[in-house]
Every structure is written in structure tokens, then in C-alpha cells.
Symmetry: C2
Subunit: 197 residues, 2 copies
């Protein structure tokens, strides 16, 4: 740790780097104490800069991925190609950042605050804009939830539970096999449903 500067912005950066490593290794089980130790800073600095471990988690993720960047090419796609573009963006992004993203999902399943942040991050900033862009009707909430159910399940099966052949399949294979479902949820007919929930 010798030679590291201790100015405010450097401290913040050190915490982020340490947190990225610790979260990637151990998910949210990595403690703030452990992160502070690896960063060579006082644990109080984590509260100072990030408020909580959840805030730090979000900062670490946001550091690497902005949902708006990921979905930008999707929003430019033809409606008939939207599902393929969305899945391609998802799989490429996840393949490139698998360890941190998998840690986020693991943690969100048992931390309700983080689950809310993931919902905001994924649903509001990625899924909903895509659905709003391509939906042929006003059933945005329904289409978004259906889309989320397939996409989160793909993530869970491929990256977390690692079920074959999905876990090792090429991105193209994944897109070929899942796109029809996603396209249906985005632009296909939905069943008439009482109460329209």
C-alpha cells in the first residue's frame, strides 16, 4: 500500500477497485471491513463516499455498465429484429462482466434493498425503454414483466446455475433459441386477460 495517495478522489477510487475485486470473488458476502482493508482505508470512508454497502455495490456496477449504452443499439433496431438485438446486447455485456454481474444477482436475491436497485437498473432503465419503444399496444407493464421473466431466467440458467447446454453455448446459439420468445413478449399478441393485470 506504500506510495498510494490518500486524497479524496483517490480514496474513492481505491475503494471502488477493492470492492470490485471483493464482490467479484465473494458477492455481497464480501464485507465492508474486507473491502476497506484491501483498499487500505478506514471502513468509515466507505460510509462517507457510498453511504452503505448497497450504494457501493451500485457504484461498482454502474462503473462498468450503463444500461442506456447497452440498449442504445437495440432502440435503433427494426421492430422485427428488436429481440435479437436485445439478446445480443445482454449476452455480450454479461459475458464481458460475468463475475461482477453474477455477484449482483446473487446478492439481489436475498437483499431487498439491492433487489430494488436491480429492479430500477434493469426494469426501468433497460427493459421498460425497449418495451415502450416496440410495443404495438399500451400493455407496457405486462410486456416488461414477461420480458423480464425470460431474460432473468436466461441469466440465472446460463450464468448462475450454469445449466448446459445454455451455460457453454455460443452467444449466437442463445440468441437463436431465445429470440422468438423475447420477440413475442415485445411485439406479439398477448392473451386477453381479465383485469388486464
Amino acid at each position: 500500500m506504500s506510495g498510494r495517495r490518500r486524497g479524496p478522489s483517490t480514496t474513492r477510487q481505491q475503494i471502488l477497485e477493492a470492492a470490485r475485486e471483493v464482490f467479484a470473488d465473494r458477492g455481497v458476502d464480501g464485507t465492508t471491513r474486507e473491502i476497506a482493508q484491501r483498499a487500505g482505508v478506514d471502513p468509515a470512508m466507505i460510509a462517507h463516499y457510498f453511504g452503505s454497502k448497497g450504494g457501493l455495490f451500485q457504484a461498482v456496477t454502474a462503473l462498468q455498465i450503463d444500461p442506456a449504452d447497452v440498449i442504445a443499439p437495440v432502440l435503433d433496431a427494426d421492430a422485427s429484429d428488436a429481440a435479437r438485438q436485445l439478446l445480443t446486447a445482454l449476452v455480450r455485456t454479461w459475458d464481458a462482466h460475468a463475475s461482477v454481474l453474477s455477484a449482483v444477482v446473487r446478492s439481489a436475491t436475498r437483499n431487498t434493498v439491492l433487489a430494488g436497485q436491480v429492479r430500477t437498473f434493469v426494469l426501468e432503465r433497460a427493459v421498460r425503454p425497449v418495451v415502450t419503444r416496440f410495443s404495438p399496444d399500451d400493455r407496457i407493464d405486462t410486456r416488461a414483466a414477461l420480458l423480464a421473466s425470460q431474460i432473468t431466467g436466461l441469466v440465472l440458467t446460463r450464468y448462475i446455475l450454469r445449466w448446459e447446454p445454455l451455460a457453454s453455448a455460443d452467444p449466437d446459439w442463445v440468441v437463436d433459441h431465445i429470440a422468438p420468445t423475447v420477440q413475442g413478449y415485445l411485439t406479439g399478441p398477448l392473451p386477453d386477460s381479465p383485469a388486464g393485470r
Copy 2:
């Protein structure tokens, strides 16, 4: 705790009851020490009867649900109705045991041993038999993984992340909206895919 018998089978039962409560409250974060305390037994008894917390978890789940029972009516369905029957069985079972099953999923996302047990439980004892029964071709592994991706995502979205409108929707609504996807993965055409993975 006074008046409780300490015979072997009673001890086992006390541990199971305590574990069911603790796991439902806190997922796998519930410690063996906590479970032993609630059961009024020595923690060593948990190791004695169940080997590990993972073994205990599996016993708690198996106590309530046998996948073979859940899928029995599905295996008797017409092929064209298989997806609706499978989803109905899944949603009814989960709605009735939501707290323990959600705890299992939360824990499986961060415990690789438990994830393996869930894979066996879900994939080998529920998904694969259904796919084997209804698949029109020999692409059992592919259909099973695709089916798992939609079913696990439904579970994650409805029960764990609790995204609306899926979280509060009636079982019939869920079946109506997800069954076409599940039916497609079970019996529909699959894309030709290099390497057939």
C-alpha cells in the same frame, strides 16, 4: 423446551421443524447454531442427522414437496396441453410453499453445493422427465435448458424480485401468458444450430 422428548426420531423432527422456520425467515443465512438453538438440541446433532446445512436444507424442502408428485398430472396431459399443466403445477406448488422455496432459490444462487442440489431436484426430477415425455425429437438437453430458463425466470420475477404485474397476478393469468413459450420449448420447432449444443 421442557417436556420435549430427546429420542433420536424426535430430535430429527425438532431439527426439521426449526430449520423450516429459520430458512423461511432468513434463507440459508440462518445458521446451524440458530436452528439448533430453536430446536433445543446440540448443533452436533444437525451434523449427525443431516451431514451439513445443505443436507438439512434439502431435507426441509423434500419434506414438503416431491417433484414426482408435482409433475405426475403433467405427465398424464395431452401433449398440446402439457405447458399449461406444467405451469399450473408449478405456480400452485410455489404459491403454497413460497417462503421455503424462495429461501432455497436465494441460497442456491450463492452456494454451489446447494445449486447442484437444486439442479438435480428441478432439472433431473421435474424438467427432464416432462421434456422426455413430450419432446418430438431427441434434443432433450436443449429443450430442458430452454424450459428451465423460462421457468426459473418466472419464479425469480414473480416470487423473488416480485415484479408487477407478475408478482400479484392470478395463477390463470400467469399460465395464459407464459404457456405459449413453455409449449414452444417443449414441443415446438427449434432452430437448426451449429454443433447442436
